[in-house]
Symmetry: C2
Subunit: 457 residues, 2 copies
Amino acid sequence: MISTSVADEFRSIVGDAWFLDTPEDLATYSYDGFLPEFMPDAIIVPGSRDEISSILRVANREKINIIPRGAGTNICGSSVARKGGIIIAFHRLNKILEIEPENMCTVVQPGVVNADLQKEVAQYSLMYPPDPASLFVSTIGGNVALNAGGPRGVKYGVTRDYLLGLEVVLPSGEVIKTGGKVLKSVSGYDLTRLMCGSEGTLGIMTEITVRLVPLPPAKATLQAMFSDLDDAAKTVSAIIGSGIVPTTLELIDRVVLDVIANFGGAKFSKEAEALLLIEVDGEASSVEGQGEKIERFCKERGAIEVERASTPEEADSLWQARRTAFGAVASVRPNCIVEDATVPVKRLSEIIRKIVELADKYHLRIGVLAHAGDGNLHPLIMTDLKDKEEMARIDKALDELYEVTIAMGGTLSGEHGIGIAKDRFMSLEFSESAIDIMRGIKKVFDPNNILNPGSFL
Amino acid sequence: MISTSVADEFRSIVGDAWFLDTPEDLATYSYDGFLPEFMPDAIIVPGSRDEISSILRVANREKINIIPRGAGTNICGSSVARKGGIIIAFHRLNKILEIEPENMCTVVQPGVVNADLQKEVAQYSLMYPPDPASLFVSTIGGNVALNAGGPRGVKYGVTRDYLLGLEVVLPSGEVIKTGGKVLKSVSGYDLTRLMCGSEGTLGIMTEITVRLVPLPPAKATLQAMFSDLDDAAKTVSAIIGSGIVPTTLELIDRVVLDVIANFGGAKFSKEAEALLLIEVDGEASSVEGQGEKIERFCKERGAIEVERASTPEEADSLWQARRTAFGAVASVRPNCIVEDATVPVKRLSEIIRKIVELADKYHLRIGVLAHAGDGNLHPLIMTDLKDKEEMARIDKALDELYEVTIAMGGTLSGEHGIGIAKDRFMSLEFSESAIDIMRGIKKVFDPNNILNPGSFL
């Protein structure tokens, strides 16, 4: 609980209108994409870096937890007040400050929505590659805090690969700058990358500089159906081994295809075990050839059906199944848990088989969406969070899944983060010494442990 | 000084043959590419991770400084025993442990020479993009410690962009693993990237996993001469603004061209103020078109001469000037100081003019080589380290250069590191709070400050 005098102090910093503590406000900010609810003590919506600095000075003095939150789309519970405290929301800090085509970079405030930035830079024939599924809602600040990925990751990598510089307010209220508009820098420790994926536990970002790339002039989009999962996995390896770097290489399994068919009426062959959605981009001349080559690879490896889009509209319709997937799966049961196990690409079919096995063993309904091209799987567990018995079975299945994932040389999270969702698995991936180092780093930035203390450490 | 009993302890770990302390050995390891000499107390050449772990346990107990050193090619003095201690050399840990074409990655020991790795992975039609000028000598461990770049950086980025995972021995002797063979991971703080560029101050790497990319099937190489530096700089901007991402975009200024001409007999037009060396790679179809487009850009922007290679031999001869540059410049005076100022690309001609102005003001001979495509300049100061009066003038010129660089939004080092060479400039780029955070991180990893304590912090 925050005392009246401290609440007044916060109000005097941001103005009464931006300090929210009605029951409705608290309820609104009590959950994020991870779903479990934790009531915050208040919400503050700052309008400037200096206000954030003042807020942190007070919070640090009073040892009040502060949880920065973008659009709350993360699905690991990294933007909720697990241990109470104040949520800082960024919807007033939503300006694109600069776009510099000559330097191929842009400077934004953390509350800028990813899709808004995409649209703006496209006017300069530029692209900001990270494209999380949440892009129409999620913010660049949240994307950096979670090191967001997306389907384009196969070719373009993740948020970290585009992050150039940051302005960060430390818990002490002091402001530091890291990196900048330069494309290369090796000057001191890499605090920019350390902030990326730190889930709001080290500092609060107030300005973000990211690199842009030329908007590719052409695309080729293909969809291939396989009656055998191994054939699909072999096709993934063949494409990657051929020297083609696809922009996107998505896999949808039978379970999800069935759900999509029931949901929206799209029809898939009854024999289909897996769908691959493949996109390449670049200059028209090379994209054309790559599209043909990929079509051949699919057919040679047993695809029962291959479609290649010849217009943007056709491409859009091929994306339809992938885009519908989350909505369709979410409609089956009250809740859908989206997992994020990631393995070396060549272990792809192995880990999918393991998931099928776990669904069977624990009587669960689990579908698989995968960014197959980078080994990043999203097992979709259709469930009801209120069903304690089923949730206990899910916990057991996840224990097994992450043990196997790590044993395969994988990681707990490809692009969704650890947060509350997976902190219990950290010791599978990291030794006690490594976790101690992380705890030490946390303490250097945040000695009073006020920043998102509920998160992974 | 190391006591006889401790020296014996080290000998018992690695065997007598791999603990070196004759005056000849000490002299050999007393300097690196930065040149100033600091005599170490001994050199140890370990043969395994476990030996390194044992060495660090003893060193940490006895508070003996340990300085890891690859090939010693770095030019910032980050591999010398500035404050005494033991150099750890890696020439026994020089094995490529795994190459996995299906996962597009390789696992190597730190002592593997960059060019050896390039050659090996080329057999799988793969490429390891970072290509520092030192690549025929320098090691992957050293490349990671300094976050090495190279001419291909414009398109492919730097070492950090290819680093996937590490095995690291901490000063306590404990071993941690970070990252792995997965292409995406957001799991805990990014210790992998934190190690990259940390100049041997945080831990000792014993295994390094890096990402590979398909070897591009085709290249186009062009050389263009300009009688006006601004025309060359405008051409750089035009190429980058056009959506072409060149692999390489190098600039050589008049001073260096003259030195090359005197050294090797290559002839350049008397009016030439700047040479651009431009390379694009990719599929043959797109590379051809890009080459033509670049040739047109150069001519439209006042190039007095453009050559486009049509065979690999011709391409090789166009690279000749760039390759000769360092040797030629080094022959002019007893020493050559290679600086590494980096600015946003659009400030390129401005910073080059500043360098010309400083050379004039302080009566120095300074040529400029630049990775122009990413704003990374290498001012080459031809001098004699023994001439104290001239060195004092150089110090003043560098003070001004780095003040201007930072004021332009630049960084102290694009790809060479800070080390001893530039630690005095750190406060230009970073606030005291940011440096305190770095000191805190150092202390978390290395509480007794035994790892390369002479370096930048």
